[in-house]
Symmetry: C2
Subunit: 341 residues, 2 copies
């Protein structure tokens, strides 16, 4: 017995009268152990109430062959395309992907990162660049190979495989401006602790301020990503004294919620008001009218991120990140402003 009083593999081996190697094989690959021996070992395990020592196995193999990802939320398919592609490359390389979620809380993200590292993750994929100093110190001190994604900063010293959220915001706002919109509302994600949401809104503001005279921002609402939240925010921006002719949303979930609410209110999209998204999520092509949005090449980004992370894990310190390009997708939800709008 260990000092903790818990039975060990050695105890099982002694009681069963077989080697520890046989016990280990029986636990991990029972088909390779003769039936009679298996039964002896099972009997010993049952008698002792033995529970295998998970940590011991990790220690024995040193490398667990897993890679961790911390995404902000499991609650919608926002990250699904990139994750699936990321996973496919890792699976081909014999690695297991473990996904944890932070609930958009930097302290919880740090806990998840520590848990993944403690559980033996060989490397991490993290969303966005903006995180507290103690998290960054931990990653540096523990020398955890990690790639950042869903963002891009050309001058960053971090290894980033992602896209420029600010550019995405600028693209969609420029598309609205080009059609003549000058009274614009913004429904964004909550920008606190979320550099992607903040970047998207900053890009929209850049574009709206860059023309002369600048377009008027009638209202800005920040809300959680969700259909109902998008709908509620739409009600708020449409209540303003001078209603916008276009509502630029920080992602497709919010934009889809806004379109559903417009339908409920008898507001026609795009005849009465235009609504746009960002991401080119499945919802964007399903909702009617279909969303004009900015496409994020999720699969390409996920694959690239996996390749770079595998390189870092293999010890290649020369690897740098790369930017994947976003592009405007024109569908039906954006048209010119209504006459007099």
């Amino acid at each position: 017995m260990e000092p903790s009083g818990l039975p060990t593999l050695q105890d099982v081996s002694r009681v069963a009268g077989v080697s520890t190697a046989t016990v280990s094989r029986c636990i991990n690959d029972p088909s390779k152990v003769a039936r009679k021996t298996r039964e002896q070992i099972q009997k010993a395990i049952d008698e002792l109430g033995y529970t295998p020592n998970f940590g011991g196995r990790v220690l024995a193999s040193r490398r667990t062959n897993s890679v961790g990802v911390v995404i902000p939320t499991m609650d919608n398919a926002m990250f699904a395309g990139a994750l699936q592609a990321f996973q496919e490359v890792l699976t081909d390389a014999g690695k297991t992907l473990l996904v944890a979620s932070s609930g958009y809380d930097p302290a919880q993200e740090f806990r998840q990162i520590r848990a993944l590292v403690a559980n033996g993750a060989d490397g991490l994929l993290l969303i966005g660049t903006d995180r507290p100093q103690d998290t960054r110190d931990f990653l540096a001190r523990r020398r955890v190979p990690h790639v950042l994604t869903w963002c891009f900063e050309p001058d960053s010293t971090a290894c980033i495989v992602g896209f420029d959220n600010r550019k995405a915001g600028r693209l969609i706002a420029e598309a609205a401006l080009a059609l003549g919109h000058r009274n614009v509302a913004i429904i964004g994600g909550i920008s606190r602790n979320n550099d992607r949401a903040a970047g998207r809104m900053a890009g929209m503001r850049d574009a709206l301020a860059a023309i002369g005279p600048p377009a008027r921002i009638t209202r800005v609402v920040e809300t959680r990503y969700g259909l109902d939240q998008g709908g509620d925010a739409f009600d708020v921006v449409m209540q303003a004294n001078s209603a916008p002719t276009a509502v630029l949303c920080g992602n497709d979930v919010l934009a889809t919620g806004a379109i559903l609410r417009a339908r409920d209110r008898g507001i026609r999209v795009p005849q009465d008001v235009s609504i746009t998204g960002i991401d080119d999520h499945n919802l964007a092509r399903v909702v009617a009218p279909a969303l004009t949005t900015v496409r994020v090449p999720q699969r390409e980004m996920g694959r690239q991120a996996a390749r770079v992370l595998l390189g870092l894990i293999a010890g290649d310190r020369t690897l740098r990140g790369c930017e994947v390009e976003v592009s405007l997708v024109r569908r039906q939800s954006l048209a010119g402003p209504p006459p007099g709008g």
Copy 2:
């Protein structure tokens, strides 16, 4: 140095001239270590090229406080609602959720299960009941506390917190029959290695056979869950010599894909053909016409599954699973058959 030649925590402690406890504290909670000491340790770490021994930490704490889930795919939001609720309960209990995905492949599921257990997961949530004997033997032999979900079998000896897929299939087929449909096509998920997809289709067949005279099944197509796949399958079932008046889909993603394709083809839903889903996914309320479907109470199921799994991990062997109830949600995609249909 270890026999492997890798530097150890002890090496760092010797070179830095501090205790191993201080090195350990410096790595895990640097704010608690004086700056000068931190610098000494960092210098030693840099000189030695030390990488912390993750396995060692797991071993030291015995319990990693993580719980694993293996879902079939990360590629859409099918499991998102339940997972998010599952995670919320676990987070409150101080546990980290690690999600892996099997790609609907039983061998990959088994690899992911072993990886999660090797990485120290205290318990597992698995989707469905149908898995190879070696996977079940492994779970039994390693005494891994685990809960099955997304399915329900009252007589199973496993601990299941889920719903009856067969009942869900029956409910939606009965709704179509009640409106007078007698020529029905089925677009299901791939039933091989997927007891949920198989159960849903079996339930539809049960209902269609139970009336007198039985309804005619014009065509059955199995396909991967995806919008394009649903659309392609819709083309196939509508090509049949005698077209169906209702197309029952195995989930909302397939049904949404079918509705989009019907729109492209100029086929009116529900005037020319009715289309139904299962799950009550976000897509079901977003697509136009909105889907008549069967609601799976995902959040309730996720919360319950988490509570039961936490109980099993805590050693409560008396816990049994429970069934959450599915219910019909009537929207616009299902109406009576067209005249003469």
